[in-house]
Symmetry: C3
Subunit: 210 residues, 3 copies
């Protein structure tokens, strides 16, 4: 098993658990919990593969990611009381998934022969946040990445670090990306870093487009 495969397993498990926890919290029934876990774990990679022309998407052909997600979701359902008591469990799992999927996404673009830095960073971001964005849209929340600025920035910083180190040490660059993304995200949570809202006074102004 290569390094990158191990990475993907980790990220898949982390995102599946994160999706299952949100679904349980939203009082979805068992199938809804499983489906939201699958969506959170698999959708980022599917969207990335569609964008870079890897058709059909790996996550829809190779059932192992599906099975790992399903198993993770079932374990989350069975051991929910334990998992939820671990403080900040959703946040930590989500941060691991963000780091792993950012690394995997940027790496996937490079492996397909693309070299444009903007595309590589974008594919890291899309893979990292795609599943979580759908998770939040389907459960009627403004996606986390729009509400927590240090979320998307963490992914972008990870991809940028991967991009610069990749040609000298490809394997190391994947670890570095995971480390950078995860650390920035967790530091932001721990430190309660907040970037200011643009204009608080803007609240009640015209927001209807007509």
């Amino acid at each position: 098993m290569t390094l990158i495969e191990t990475f993907v397993y980790f990220g898949t498990i982390a995102f599946a658990i994160s999706g299952a926890l949100v679904a349980i919290d939203k009082k979805l029934d068992v199938f809804g919990v499983l489906l939201l876990a699958l969506t959170t774990a698999l959708a980022g990679g599917v969207i990335r593969d569609i964008m870079i022309g890897q058709i059909p998407p790996v996550n829809l052909v190779d059932p192992q990611y599906f099975l790992i997600s399903l198993l993770s979701a079932l374990i989350t359902i069975l051991f929910y009381e334990i998992i939820i008591k671990l403080n900040h469990s959703v946040i930590i799992f989500d941060a691991i998934g963000l780091g792993v999927f950012t690394a995997v996404g940027a790496n996937a673009a490079i492996m397909l022969g693309y070299s444009q830095p903007f595309l590589i960073v974008a594919m890291g971001l899309v893979t990292g946040i795609g599943g979580g964005v759908l998770r939040d849209v389907f459960t009627q929340q403004i996606p986390l990445v729009f509400r927590k600025e240090i979320y998307g920035i963490a992914s972008i910083a990870g991809s940028v670090s991967l991009y610069f180190v990749y040609e000298y040490a490809p394997n190391l660059s994947l670890y570095l990306c995971l480390f950078v993304t995860f650390s920035i995200r967790m530091l932001a949570v721990k430190m309660n870093w907040n970037v200011p809202i643009v204009r608080k006074a803007a609240v009640d102004s015209k927001r209807n487009l007509t």
Copy 2:
């Protein structure tokens, strides 16, 4: 006209009506009703075609599905009072659409030469639920498939039955898939089958990711 084409007409009409009824109920105006009907009827097939590399998607090239959807939506607007009085009308039309599009989606993957069972079942599910998911997202509801577990399971059961029968009797397998999916879905509605919510006590726990 081949069997599969007849199927697609039926599913398109059923989903267009379902989308129009939801839009009318959400008090969208006439164009909004037409557009939501088109989205519900055509989006599942478009997403599936993107995923299996059928570019441009059939539903965007061949105007007949567009015209059928448009006509169905207009008829729904004109005869709304009658259609809505038919009990459970949305549910029945939606169940027909689910069964037909599941069969068509799984069949489309097979016709393009794919043989992985997971991909075939996934394409049945994506085609079957894709339009309805967008319909619900655009009208600000948690998509039905996350709330009603016997909805997605019905589609999966249909695709699995199609997969096993396909090589012996391709045509029959399409009918079988429609029958299995529609029956399971309607039985679930009639019997008021409910799968339990995972943890009711989980309601007020931490659901904000920070």
Copy 3:
């Protein structure tokens, strides 16, 4: 710089500003504002490119559209007080973006060799409304195009006019499409044109699908 490139710059700026204004109004923080501006400006083109097989999507490869969007969003943040005081500023920017992106989208389909009128009009519409639909979905609003019928109709009318004039005067047809779309949309706003809701009495009827 060709005509079509100038067009795209204009539409990108207009949609980025529109996305930033909605985000500020929704009290998103700085990164959220930037990301929503980017999504609004770039997503329509990305979805169109995926649908017509232009992989990877131009907006993800060529960083200039990204940079223009980013700059526009930053300027919107800095000069928010001034921009918001310009009456109907969001509406006007949104209408410019709608017109430009409709023209660019229909043109992109033609340039790739497609000639089916339905596909060309659909690509104009998808490019024109795609970014705005995601902007609204991510900020938990029913997308504008479903609520304001003269919005989508304006785009369709623009693409149709482009389609008929294109073979005689390709350049002119782009201007015409922008003019037709923008004029219809702004007239609808100014005149407060309203298409009737289908059935007001339908409000409290059954809208749950089970």
